[in-house]
Symmetry: C2
Subunit: 364 residues, 2 copies
């Protein structure tokens, strides 16, 4: 249901008190919290009769939300962040940034399909001692991200739980092929002879996480840049859509790490992928703060949410010329019986990699 | 993303071992668990190139799922169940039933809008010591419910967390008005003069919960009936759709309790609602097991997931004649300046109610 229930409280029908720094969600209860959040962000709750949200025929406060009519194929994804699993508690990102990132990671999945984001439902699991001002800050980050990418926040569910988590389900719409089927970027559409391009620079997010773990105070601009890459990723929604419209049909976002995510493409497409080590783009900030480790971080670090786009050279290069998003060609696709990702040096020799991905990354 | 990540394990790429009663999800890891669940339910993971699921153009194993093309207004809801918050751990329902109920409660929200359910995304938060066989049982319940109601399970997310929870986001499609707008059942469409009907019988689910809390062994058929009402609710999907097609536009499901849920309708519609106490339908099992409390349980107990349908008498009665779902007319809607739900006795006197709803229910 859209209307948030089961945050246990004896005070569920209490009038809304002005909140201050000390108020816990268990004090104002589920109903009070929804009302406060709705008002904070310009909505009435419960909604007056006949009042709805833009883009919705039925909004917050009914059994479900109902969208405007639309014709097409739906793209749908969901992602969860759990405290101490998906983000550090100490030092914690701001609740505003946690809200931003929770939506941004879902947006990156829609971007990686080349779709147009549409509607998000948010489920918050809140411990009873969660502070109301933190809930407001979290929703502030969600709203900022939703506005930046044209997403309608359609309500969701708020429940009591022992630990904090946020789950977002996000829908989008797919472009259409001439025959009406969905035109999307999948992992399984790479062909031998294709080239591989990546947006932006990679490795910054994991570098920001390493600095946070080391207890850095993020005084320099470069350190702040790396922390921002971790806490406020910028999903490549515009680029994904441009890629589909340009005729590309293969893509993935870098959530686990360059090599691991290219591995998903290699497996799904039944191909080999060769990456030229010297062409992997890293930021000046990464090279300044981690001069020795920059390359390793770039090829193995996750959570950058850049896009990998794979297709015929002419199509990829036309997209690179036309798009405002910076992109770098980093490799190509070859025929093989055993799907594989090879990172090669300037002499064409494969560089041995112990581990490719985010989960397994160990700082040396 | 659809492909399940961040269940922390060092063994994520391990080959799938035959599981037995002792295997924990942390042993086979995220990838192993997905592969096992997919195979258990007839899907290949990662999917072979070009293979997809019925109704989906892109299924499990990409950044997101993509549906077949369709024209209409989308209905969208989400619901979460957290262990020890939304269901008892001791005595626990079976994991199969927890899977069933997690989807059934979402289906009830689609039913309460009068829509046709379509696609579900499932997020599981699993503690590391969660047993693989329990995950398989949980998915068994999900699949059984999905098959019973024509829902496509489109994947989701599996993450590590300190406590078990399951979050489902479910989409459906709305019927259309002649002008193309969505034809749905909302809480705000009750009109003075309308009658109120309820499907099935109510109070059984909370009675089942009370018995479980008392540590009953559920030996009698009546006790088993009450437990089943709690653990395996039957969402009224067919009835919701019939109601919209018959011309009704006001409805809600009973998740919080008859009086509380009618209160949502009264508030959203700006009306008063009168319920005749003697007409509230309760089951023979409820009256047998709780002879003194049956009426109180029926009007205040939640989680029955029956539908309340409100509309012109002729329309409601035509629906009652045509539908296979048993329904009872229990009250009517009157004009008032202060939205209110009145439960009245045979003399028309209002029966005082201390609390109306599920969260506040206290066994006497």
């Amino acid at each position: 249901m859209i209307g948030f229930r089961a945050l246990h409280s004896r005070n569920e029908r209490a009038t809304l008190r002005p909140y201050n720094r000390a108020v816990l969600v268990s004090e104002i209860g589920e109903f009070g919290l929804i009302q406060l959040l709705a008002r904070e962000f310009g909505l009435e709750y419960p909604p007056a009769r006949g009042v709805s949200q833009p883009g919705l025929q039925v909004g917050l406060g009914d059994d479900a939300v109902v969208t405007d009519r639309r014709d097409g194929s739906l793209i749908w994804t969901t992602d969860t962040m759990v405290e101490n699993v998906h983000f550090l508690i100490d030092p914690a990102p701001s609740w505003h940034d946690i809200g931003w990132k929770a939506l941004a990671t879902n947006l990156s999945d829609i971007a990686a399909m080349g779709g147009t984001p549409h509607l998000a439902l948010v489920t918050l699991c809140l411990p009873p001692d969660f502070q109301v001002e933190d809930a407001v800050a979290l929703y502030g980050g969600l709203h900022e991200c939703a506005e930046a990418f044209g997403v309608t926040l359609g309500g969701g569910d708020i429940v009591g739980a022992p630990v904090f988590s946020i789950t977002i389900a996000l829908s989008g719409w797919a472009e259409a092929e001439p025959d009406g089927s969905a035109a999307v970027l999948t992992r399984g559409a790479a062909q031998p002879g294709d080239v591989v391009a990546v947006s932006g620079t990679i490795g910054d997010a994991v570098a920001g996480l390493l600095l946070a773990r080391e207890g850095r105070d993020f005084k320099t601009k470069s350190e702040q840049h790396l922390r921002a890459a971790m806490d406020r990723p910028q999903p490549r929604v515009a680029l994904g859509l441009e890629a589909v419209r340009a005729g590309l049909r293969c893509g993935i976002d870098i959530s686990d790490g360059l090599v691991q995510d290219l591995g998903h493409v290699a497996t799904a497409s039944g191909v080999g992928i060769r990456v030229d080590a010297v062409r992997v783009p890293s930021s000046a900030a990464l090279r300044e703060v981690f001069p020795a480790e920059a390359f390793g971080l770039a090829i193995s670090g996750g959570q950058d949410y850049e896009l990998l786009l794979i297709g015929p050279r002419a199509t990829v290069e036309a997209l690179m010329d036309a798009s405002e998003t910076p992109m770098t060609e980093i490799g190509d696709v070859y025929r093989t019986d055993t799907p594989h990702v090879a990172v090669v040096d300037e002499a064409g020799r494969e560089i041995p990699l112990a581990h490719g991905g985010w989960d397994h990354f160990k700082p040396s």
